[in-house]
């Protein structure tokens, strides 16, 4: 049986109340008030689509042996690299083997479900496990509808040939060169055509077309499904679509517009993750994406679902929140307004790729080493054991530390270091199971920290080199969920 083996979600900690955007920019475009309900999730200054995809993947793979993963797919429309496989960065962070299939899915907001379909077909043909990680971090210009509506998030689905929590039953796709939203190869901000046309000709026609196509293909009716998941941030269009499909409002999954915003490629999978958190065995789920057409997928929940309803998904991330109480900070974090970080901030940091390749396991996957002689865990990987009483040479096994967590040993908040989110918080962390390293902290304030506090590790942007357009990634310590005040 092929289907979903696990799921995960990720919503960044910072939330921007849409009235703050309106308060800052309503003078320019008063009509944005019509979208000013609720809040949107905003990636921290050190987050992007890759880091959020990894965060969702880590959520999804809790308790899963990383060595058993056979494919890693990454879906986004905001990939940091055009050449350099983004999915390999994600796979490296998730601790996957080198001998895997990897691919980036991009170009449309349905790329998340396209990646999921490819994963289902991969596992259908080859067996094993395939992980799909989707995330988006799309930008609208200041005072645009997109700025109001878009939110940042990630979602992940592991497809498996055994112990599935939701069996894959079938799919139907439609593809259109329907240009409602557009971003050229050299463009930073989303551009859209008239919204009435997008709503009436786009969402209201294509989603029913895909659903009806799937129903016709499998002899089903929309009313046969217990949960219907589709993205559409037009409230009126949602009503019309529900009416056209003749489905009851309560079966339709909340679109999280008021809490997250439209997270692009990730959004259908994010809504799926939220649905799976509470799904019951036997439920039929219809998942539909939207963007340059639609993918419709049919799943049936199995008895295994209860094993995976252990806190993974979206709710705990939604609960872990902090107000981003200032619009200017949002602009600086997203690179929409230049900020002075001093001459110190201009230090040129080059990336030496041959060095990065030698150390890529330690950098991407936080792989350390563990001494076969004395059992001491250490990071970064050592050839001579760090235990002064052992010092064995070349007796090391690799150990994946990214999911181990640890505790705060020392910390500080540094106002001298150049940062767009001062103070730069960092310190020494003791890994659970042994070993210590110095690392950045993120998603917290200095006041949140204390010596001995448990932390988890989060894959983040380490630094961006504007001269060469290189984003470098590494792990940071984050107070364990529940620890942040």
């Amino acid at each position: 049986m092929v289907g979903i083996g696990s799921f995960g979600g990720y919503v960044p900690r910072y939330r921007l109340n849409r009235m703050i955007i309106f308060g800052s920019m309503g003078w320019l475009n008063p009509v944005i008030i019509t979208n000013a309900r609720g809040e949107k999730a905003v990636a921290n200054f050190d987050e992007d689509s890759i880091t959020m995809a990894v965060a969702a993947g880590m959520d999804c793979l809790r308790g899963v042996d990383r060595q058993g993963i056979d494919a890693v797919y990454f879906a986004t429309t905001t990939a940091p690299y055009r050449e350099r496989q983004n999915a390999n960065i994600v796979a490296g962070a998730l601790g996957a083997r080198d001998e895997i299939r990897s691919a980036d899915f991009t170009g449309s907001l349905k790329s998340g479900t396209s990646a999921l379909l490819s994963a289902l077909e991969f596992v259908g043909c080859n067996g094993g496990k395939a992980v799909v990680c989707a995330a988006d971090c799309r930008l609208g210009k200041m005072a645009s509808t997109q700025e109001m509506v878009f939110g940042d998030a990630g979602a992940a689905v592991m497809v498996s040939d055994s112990e599935v929590i939701a069996e894959y039953k079938g799919s139907f796709s439609v593809s259109h060169d329907f240009v409602d939203h557009l971003r050229g190869a050299n463009t930073k901000y989303d551009r859209m055509w008239e919204e009435r046309w997008i709503r009436d000709v786009g969402y209201q026609q294509f989603i029913p077309q895909a659903v009806q196509g799937l129903c016709a293909k499998y002899g089903m009716s929309p009313a046969d499904f217990d949960r219907i998941i589709y993205p559409c941030y037009y409230g009126g269009a949602r009503k019309n679509i529900n009416k056209a499909l003749q489905v009851e409002q309560e079966k339709v999954q909340d679109d999280m517009l008021a809490t997250v915003g439209d997270s692009g490629s990730a959004h259908p999978l994010l809504m799926l993750a939220a649905a799976l958190e509470t799904a019951k065995p036997g439920e039929k789920i219809l998942l539909v994406s939207y963007g340059s057409g639609c993918d419709a997928l049919w799943f049936e929940v199995t008895e295994n679902i209860t094993k995976m309803q252990d806190g993974r998904g979206v709710s705990r991330w939604l609960a872990r929140r902090a107000d981003l109480d200032n619009y200017q900070k949002y602009l600086v974090w997203r690179g929409m307004a230049p900020a002075e970080t001093g001459i110190r901030g201009e230090t040129d940091k080059e990336t030496r790729w041959s060095l990065v390749w030698r150390e890529h396991k330690a950098i991407l996957g936080l792989w350390g080493s563990k001494c076969r002689k004395c059992g001491t865990q250490q990071y970064p990987p050592q050839r001579i054991c760090i235990n002064p009483d052992c010092q064995a040479l070349d007796e090391m096994d690799p150990v994946y530390l990214a999911d181990k967590g640890g505790t705060v040993f020392t910390y500080t908040g540094d106002m001298l270091a150049a940062s767009v989110n001062p103070p730069a918080i960092y310190g020494n962390v003791n890994f659970n199971g042994g070993g210590r390293t110095l690392m950045d902290f993120t998603d917290c304030t200095v006041e949140d920290l204390s010596v001995g506090m448990p932390v988890e590790f989060s894959f983040r942007i380490k630094f961006y080199d504007p001269k060469r357009d290189i984003t470098n990634y590494f792990w940071k310590a984050v107070p364990a969920v529940g620890e942040v005040k």
Binding site: G342, I343, R344, T347, K349, T351, R352, L355, V356, E359, A362, I363, T376, Q378, Y379, P380, Q382, I386, N387, P388, F409, T410, Y411, T412, G413, D414, M415, L416, A417, A418, S419, P423, A424, Y426, G427, N428, N430, G434, G435, R436, T437, L438, M439, D440, V446, S450, V451, G452, K462, F463, N472, F474
Partner: protein, 401 residues
């Protein structure tokens, strides 16, 4: 058992520039100023120097690599001139090179000169550099020196269960005392006494260190001419002799950064180097026998933990000693009588030799009464370079005969 360095080398002469924002002076000017004073004090000429060591760590804006900039600026006559860099211990390392050369018999008169011109970077604090290699750029935080040393405070407070405001009170006294001393010193960078309220209320640099918990970043140079006791007696008959009693270096093993045994509330290298230095100098009870100290107070918290690491204060008792005035100029062991890194300033490569300059002049009783240490016998200098998890420590002891 090695014999060690004790009594084999003496200081013939020393020089030290005014430290500070020397916008008018290049590294060459600073080197010339320090060497001229040192030669004058030694009573020798440049041609008498047989070998030279240059201490410099971070500033390559002016100096570049190697020692040719210095030999070219000073026009030394084709003698060996070697640059040494070992973080903030670079000055003491240069001094060690000269001392070991003389002790070995390879030469009779050698020069150690340190210089650093830090004020051509365009910003405050030390220059940003990949000090721990490129791998650390990829995996370590974007850290600064205050941020790295500030962590001693969080670990110290946690280990000794001392509230942070109590610890802040003690480190405030550390900086207050150094400002009191620095204000009296015409060559110091920062020459203003400040109140404890000013120190406590200053803007935060790296929690819990405020602006006054951090030392000055300065331009400056210092030089020492060392020789054998025989040469000294020939050149300065009947004059008191300042002898090198001990000179020890200890460098991190990686254990602090990666192994979980270190407590983070002190510096292992200081503990190691000081114990070896006491043994080399024949000192049994440093708290009773050391007369004065110049320690590496890059940050106030560094000075606090150093008092314990040197074995002067018992573990957990440095705050008490500090607040009791034990290390004040009129206390039992005056610490930083010249103002320390805090106020005299910290041109890295020069700092170790600047400390020796202070001890040397104190031992010879050359300073005016308002900043003189009474009847000193042994003086100790201490440098700590790098960061608490990865560092170089030097401890040197000098005595007068």
């Amino acid at each position: 058992m090695a014999e060690g360095i004790r009594d084999k080398v003496v200081i013939l002469g020393m020089g030290c520039t005014r430290f500070g924002e020397r916008w008018d002076a290049g590294s060459d000017d600073l080197l010339i100023e320090a060497l001229t004073e040192a030669l004058q004090d030694a009573g020798i000429e440049k041609k008498d120097i047989q070998a030279a060591w240059l201490g410099i760590h971070i500033d390559e804006i002016n100096i570049g690599k190697g020692a040719t900039y210095a030999s070219g600026a000073l026009h030394t006559p084709f003698i060996p001139f070697t640059r040494v860099d070992n973080f903030c211990a670079s000055g003491t390392e240069a001094f060690r090179g000269a001392t070991y050369a003389v002790a070995s018999g390879a030469c009779e008169i050698a020069l150690a000169i340190g210089v650093e011109k830090l004020k051509d970077t365009g910003y405050g604090g030390l220059p940003d550099s990949p000090a721990f290699g490129q791998e650390a750029v990829m995996i370590g935080p974007n850290a600064t020196a205050p941020g790295m040393f500030a962590q001693l405070a969080t670990a110290y407070a946690a280990k000794h269960k001392i509230p942070m405001d109590k610890l802040k009170e003690a480190i405030t006294h550390v900086s207050w005392k150094s400002h009191q001393n620095g204000a009296k010193n015409p060559r110091a960078h920062l020459r203003r006494a400040v109140t404890k309220e000013q120190i406590m209320g200053a803007p935060m640099v790296a929690y819990p260190l405020g602006l006054f918990d951090c030392c000055g970043v300065s331009d400056g140079s210092a030089a020492a001419v060392v020789c054998t006791p025989e040469v000294f007696k020939k050149l300065k008959p009947n004059e008191p002799m300042v002898k090198v009693k001990a000179l020890q270096i200890s460098v991190s093993s990686g254990e602090e950064a990666m192994f979980t045994r270190w407590d983070g509330a002190g510096i292992i290298t200081t503990q190691t180097a000081s114990r070896k230095a006491y043994q080399e100098a024949g000192i049994k009870d440093p708290r009773k026998e050391i007369s004065m100290m110049e320690v590496h107070d890059c940050f106030s918290i560094t000075e606090l933990v150093t008092m314990e690491d040197l074995g002067i204060s018992p573990p957990g008792k440095a705050p008490e000693d500090i607040l009791n005035g034990f290390f004040d100029l009129d206390g039992q062991i005056p610490c930083q009588p010249d103002g320390g890194l805090k106020c005299f300033g910290h041109p890295i490569g020069a700092s170790g030799i600047r400390m020796i300059y202070e001890i040397y002049n104190q031992l010879l009783g050359r300073w005016p009464e308002d900043r003189a240490v009474k009847n000193p016998k042994f003086g100790l200098t201490h440098n700590l370079g790098g960061v608490p998890t990865q560092n170089v420590c030097s401890v040197a002891i000098f005595g007068i005969d």
